[in-house]
């Protein structure tokens, strides 16, 4: 192996053009789903991406596994530019087919990801037929049955004969996981993969992923809106948590550091929003000036969080903060991490009192 990270994102930008609808021929609006994100994912790594819906975490995840072409920046797999490989540009060291096989995804809704008219065995045979065409039918079946056993679907031959509707939500998600695993991937994007499961099944599914990380050195990018699940997976997997806000990565670092010592005000807000079982303390007011997310088509100037940030000052309206390293592998984009920044001497933002104390300014998220 070279010293390259497994996947390396450099200054990645994904902008979507959103047309106005059938009868509108005006300028299409630009949605900046991801803006200027750099992130390395190592072998046997776990990166949990968290943030509110519309923050770009899923788009970033899909970009990392080469499913979404970035409009700017680069995505490399083991040093090979993924989109150069796809386009056949330059010397392609890792062919695109190899990239596709190595980077897999499991979705939020396992039901819609499985063909309802196919038995589990048939669904799982497809990837093997494609990627290991030399395998005999008997070996293929043997491999599938042992993988089903591996993820706790026992007796495997019984499960292999079922249709998706004969499986519970958790079982469907396991089948989706097995399907990715049969490709022998290096990285799996788990896109809200446990959100639809019952609370009691979520931990089980995360434990399974950790087990696979341990056994096969599989890396995971785990997209979640729930900080406590992100923490569970990333901490146990020795990985990081990345916090996204309106297309930008505002804080990233070792899971326990981000949870124990969040440095970005938005991370603190997410932590507030994560319910816990303490009985003694009331949660109090939401620690944001506005509870609605601004329109991503028209993100605020300067630091994009300034319209909601409880700590925002005039400096935040003008300039966007650069990413600063605040600890080992812990990076934050907030002026408050810079001791001598002019932020500290700039006046605090005051909301317009005429419109009520917490008026909203956005139309949609």
């Amino acid at each position: 192996m070279s010293g390259d990270p497994l996947v390396s994102l450099t200054d990645v930008e994904v902008h979507f053009e959103e047309s106005q609808g059938l009868l509108d021929f005006g300028e299409p609006e630009l949605v900046r789903a991801v803006d200027g994100v750099s992130l390395d994912i190592e072998e046997r790594d776990v990166v949990a991406l968290v943030g509110e819906s519309g923050c770009g975490k899923t788009t970033l995840g899909k970009t990392a596994i080469g499913l979404q072409r970035p409009t700017g920046g680069s995505v490399e797999f083991q040093g090979q530019d993924v989109w150069d490989a796809k386009d056949g540009k330059g010397d392609v060291e890792v062919p695109y087919g190899e990239v596709r096989r190595s980077l897999q995804i499991i979705h939020q809704d396992p039901g819609s990801a499985l063909n309802p008219n196919r038995r589990v065995m048939k669904t799982l045979e497809a990837p093997l037929k494609k990627w290991q065409s030399g395998m005999s039918a008997g070996d293929r079946r043997g491999e599938i049955l042992s993988m089903l056993e591996e993820v706790g679907m026992s007796p495997a031959s019984d499960y292999a004969g079922r249709y998706p509707h004969q499986l519970s939500g958790g079982e469907k998600q396991r089948v989706a996981l097995v399907r990715s695993l049969l490709m022998d991937p290096d990285l799996i994007l788990a896109d809200e993969a446990i959100s639809a499961l019952d609370v009691s099944l979520r931990v089980e599914m995360m434990d399974l992923m950790l087990d696979l990380q341990d056994r096969y050195d599989t890396s995971f990018v785990f997209v979640s809106h729930d900080l406590s699940n992100a923490r569970y997976l990333a901490s146990h997997g020795g990985g990081r948590i990345g916090v996204m806000y309106l297309g930008e990565l505002v804080e990233v670092g070792p899971a326990e550091q981000v949870i124990e010592n969040p440095r970005h005000p938005y991370t603190k807000v997410l932590k507030w929003a994560t319910p816990d079982l303490r009985v003694d303390e009331g949660a109090g007011e939401p620690p944001v000036r506005k509870i609605d997310i601004p329109d991503p088509k028209d993100p605020p100037s300067g630091c994009r969080f300034h319209t909601r940030c409880p700590e925002a000052r005039e400096a935040c309206v003008r300039d966007a903060p650069a990413t600063e390293e605040v600890g080992d592998g812990h990076e934050v984009a907030c002026f408050r991490t810079v001791d001598d920044h002019e932020y500290w001497s700039s006046p605090e933002l005051v909301d317009d009192p005429s419109g009520g104390d917490r008026d909203t300014t956005s139309t949609a998220d």
């Binding site: 931990v203 929003a273 079982l277 303490r278 949660a283 509870i291 609605d292 909203t360």
Partner: protein, 356 residues
């Protein structure tokens, strides 16, 4: 036919609260299915105390939504609801909800007990502006539209929304969080006493969920409401609710003051549920999944329906269905062995050790 004795206990004293606004007795919902009779609510007895916030917690398919619908006699066909539901208004005689005419029921549902479901989009008429939805509701109930809209504006402001902007928008022009808040406003516009909410925030981001919960607490104070909040998310509702009721396999298995449930849950299922819940402040090692899966409504296990998954289960649990037992004042549990649950299913709420 089952030869088990009915779950419903004759001694109603256990469920009774001091000033109930809704009394649910032996509520049962059955669906006839090809595969057999499906009992999706099984003999539930419950009081909702006036001005409390009651959290009803259960996993998907536990019957919690059926219980919510039952309170308003809103179980959808071909489901059949039986039992007794009594609504106690502050200023009139008690109302037998299941004995109401269609017109009376329609009035009860908006003016006395109002309901908010998950998925605001499907509750609004998408072809008219939000204002039209409010006007329609006010007119249908012969309310003064101008006064009603004035009240609407105030509630919308209470929910941190700009009244005119929201009223002038079509539902799809609002974000999910705004739609859900507008729907809460709609449910309050006819000044009900009780607001029953079924997973009202499940489709929303955590930050919006938490924010709405805070707002609900304020609304409850300001408009003198009783809130019933139904969710699969125990930690979310634990912060808001005065009492928690836990459902498993279409039955109520435990009910008590929130703090007591969190500190001293008596049912092994509740304790396992607490263990399975990721908790940002607790140690990472303490999270454990619950083994096995919830039963099919057509094929509920005999005896205590939790017995196949319960580490404490013995012969008694396989044969008999436990009735509610008193674990403490106002804290009831349907388990023969609740006194051993603490040892069999250890659970310590983080940061609470010192109190024990």
């Amino acid at each position: 036919m089952s030869t088990q004795k009915p779950r419903h206990t004759e001694d109603g004293a256990l469920y009774r609260t001091s000033d109930p606004i809704i009394e649910v007795r032996d509520a049962e919902v059955v669906f006839g299915m090809d595969r057999g009779v499906s009992r999706v609510l099984d003999g539930v007895d419950l009081d909702v105390q006036r001005n409390e916030i009651l959290g009803i917690v259960g996993e998907s398919g536990s019957g919690k939504s059926m219980l919510a619908s039952a309170m308003l006699d809103a179980v959808v066909d071909p489901g059949r609801l039986s039992g007794r539901i009594t609504y106690h208004p502050a200023d009139r005689d008690p109302v037998d909800v299941l004995g109401l005419s269609k017109a009376e029921l329609k009035r009860l549902r908006w003016e006395d007990i109002s309901m908010v479901f998950q998925g605001a989009m499907s509750s609004f008429n998408p072809t008219m502006e939000v204002r039209g939805n409010f006007v329609e509701t006010l007119e249908a109930h012969d309310y003064d539209v101008e006064a009603g809209l004035e009240r609407t504006r105030e509630i919308l402001r209470d929910l941190y929304l700009e009244p005119e902007r929201v009223l002038d928008s079509y539902p799809h022009e609002l974000s999910g969080g705004m739609q859900q808040r507008a729907l809460i406003a709609l449910s309050l516009v006819l000044e009900p006493d009780v607001l029953v909410m079924d997973e009202p925030t499940a489709a929303l981001d955590l930050l919006m969920q938490r924010s709405i919960l805070q707002l609900l607490e304020k609304l409850k104070q300001k408009y003198d409401l009783t809130l019933v909040f139904i969710t699969h998310d125990l930690p979310l509702v634990a912060e808001l609710a005065d009492r928690l009721a836990v459902m498993y396999a279409f039955e109520l298995v435990e009910i008590g003051p929130t703090e007591e449930i969190l500190r001293d849950a008596a049912h092994p299922y509740t304790r396992s549920l607490l263990n399975a819940t990721p908790n940002i402040d607790s140690g990472l090692e303490e999270m454990r999944p619950i083994e096995g899966s919830a039963p099919d409504p057509v094929d509920v296990p005999t005896g205590c329906s939790y017995h196949p998954r319960c580490p404490m289960a013995d012969e008694t649990c396989v044969e008999d269905d436990p009735e509610f037992l008193r674990a403490d004042d106002g804290h009831n549990v349907a388990c023969f062995h609740w006194q051993d649950a603490e040892e069999a299913v250890p659970f310590v709420l983080d940061g609470q050790e010192a109190d024990r």
